[in-house]
């Protein structure tokens, strides 16, 4: 990787941007479905039947995305980012990745611990990843709710930081991840 390439590149790679918006759409959808399904009766079954495979899809997408990120060239931080922000940003991103891997594993694990069949679609089932233990289920079911809140709060913080940079500092932070191509000014 040459220095000149790294300084010219102002946006994340197209594949990274695709993964970013795909994850954003999937995660906001599953959070919405999660909240709606535990509050519904007649639609509960339909929603939970979408929730499970969607959650596993997120797990797969996030793992591929993380590996892809490892092999991609990242654009440099904008000059407007303070040293403190530069140290916090990667940690908070790592935290988001961790949440997005742990949350579906907790969902999968809690259904395993309750000895539910873990149906994805039709006759396609996942194998259990934990032994049958209802106390463990109770803890993981609680954790699934807490992690969902944490995920939503982290998402809000992430959105807030980007909007602050884009609208208040006007440093074009959003364009780094914009779904469309942004030319260097």
């Amino acid at each position: 990787m040459s220095v000149s390439v790294a300084t010219e590149q102002r946006q994340f790679t197209p594949l990274m941007r695709l993964f970013h918006w795909l994850t954003a759409a999937l995660v906001l959808t599953i959070l919405g479905i999660g909240v709606a399904m535990v509050a519904s009766l007649a639609d509960y079954h339909r929603l939970v039947s979408i929730h499970r495979p969607l959650g596993i899809l997120i797990l797969i997408v996030v793992v591929i995305r993380f590996v892809n990120r490892h092999y991609s060239t990242l654009p440099p931080f904008p000059a407007t980012m303070s040293p403190r922000e530069r140290s916090v940003a990667p940690t908070s991103e790592l935290f988001l990745y961790a949440l997005l891997v742990v949350q579906p594993l907790v969902g999968w694990g809690m259904l395993s611990a309750a000895s539910y069949p873990i149906t994805l679609y039709g006759s396609i089932h996942l194998f259990p990843i934990l032994p049958h233990n209802v106390m463990l289920y109770a803890v993981l079911r609680r954790a699934h709710t807490v992690l969902a809140y944490l995920l939503f709060l982290t998402f809000l913080a992430h959105l807030g930081a980007v909007l602050f940079h884009t609208w208040v500092m006007r440093d074009g932070t959003f364009s780094r991840m914009a779904p469309w191509k942004v030319r260097a000014q």
Partner: protein, 228 residues
């Protein structure tokens, strides 16, 4: 697959909302200890299907025990064959043990558990059996309304026999630690447009979660009570 069945041929309500409203209407008044008849009358006035279903339920004699009762699945499901064709079905369990009507005129029995005790005693004497009867619906038979019976003329298929040869205490049975979900279905079966099974899934999931985290107490029915 887990399924609860009732000894009534139809269910009293056909939506989760009606179920909830009926519970509220039947709630005892804290001072009198009795439900407010006006509330129930108001509920029935806006739920003619419940009035109809109650007539059917009341004209259906209760049996003298658990062992000689028919149990009805009430909700409709779809059966699919290998070629992808599907038919709506309901099912019931018909006892091999001869029916005897419940004694509804005498004084109430003092021992509250006599039905359970009789069931355990019956099983210990000889295995109890029921035929699983599948009723196949036709195009206009409602699949989304558990208050309406299907016509008597519908084809019925005896698909197997359920044999109870022993009872199990909660302490030794695997039932306590699994959720009882009417929509965990085997391959070849699918839920219908009946809104009740989904509501039951939702509610049972909630109660299972709450029970799961509780300290487990010994079962009221001890293992020695159900063994010879």
């Amino acid at each position: 697959m887990a399924h609860a069945m009732l000894n009534t041929p139809v269910f009293a309500v056909n939506t989760p909302q009606a179920f909830y409203d009926r519970l509220l209407a039947a709630q005892p008044n804290p001072t009198t200890g009795k439900p407010d008849p006006q509330k129930m009358a108001a509920f029935l006035a806006s739920h003619p299907e419940t009035v109809q279903a109650t007539k059917i339920i009341q004209s259906h004699p209760a049996s003298s025990g658990f062992e000689n009762s028919t149990y009805y699945g009430l909700n409709a499901f779809w059966f699919m064959d290998a070629s992808g064709r599907s038919i709506p079905v309901r099912w019931s369990l018909a006892p091999v043990q001869p029916f005897a009507p419940a004694n509804t005129t005498g004084p109430a029995r003092p021992d509250k558990n006599y039905l359970f005790d009789a069931l355990i005693a019956g099983i210990l004497q000889q295995p109890l059996q029921w035929h699983l009867i599948i009723t196949t619906g036709q195009a206009n038979d409602p699949t989304n309304d558990a208050t309406i019976p299907w016509p008597d003329a519908r084809e019925q298929v005896d698909v197997g026999t359920l044999t109870l040869d022993h009872a199990e205490s909660e302490d030794t049975s695997p039932c306590r630690d699994i959720n009882f979900d009417p929509l965990v279905l085997p391959e070849g079966m699918a839920p219908s447009d009946d809104p009740l099974p989904s509501a039951r899934s939702a509610v049972y999931s909630q109660s299972f979660t709450r029970r799961a985290g509780e300290k487990k107490l010994p079962s009221t029915v001890t293992p020695s009570e159900v063994r010879k």
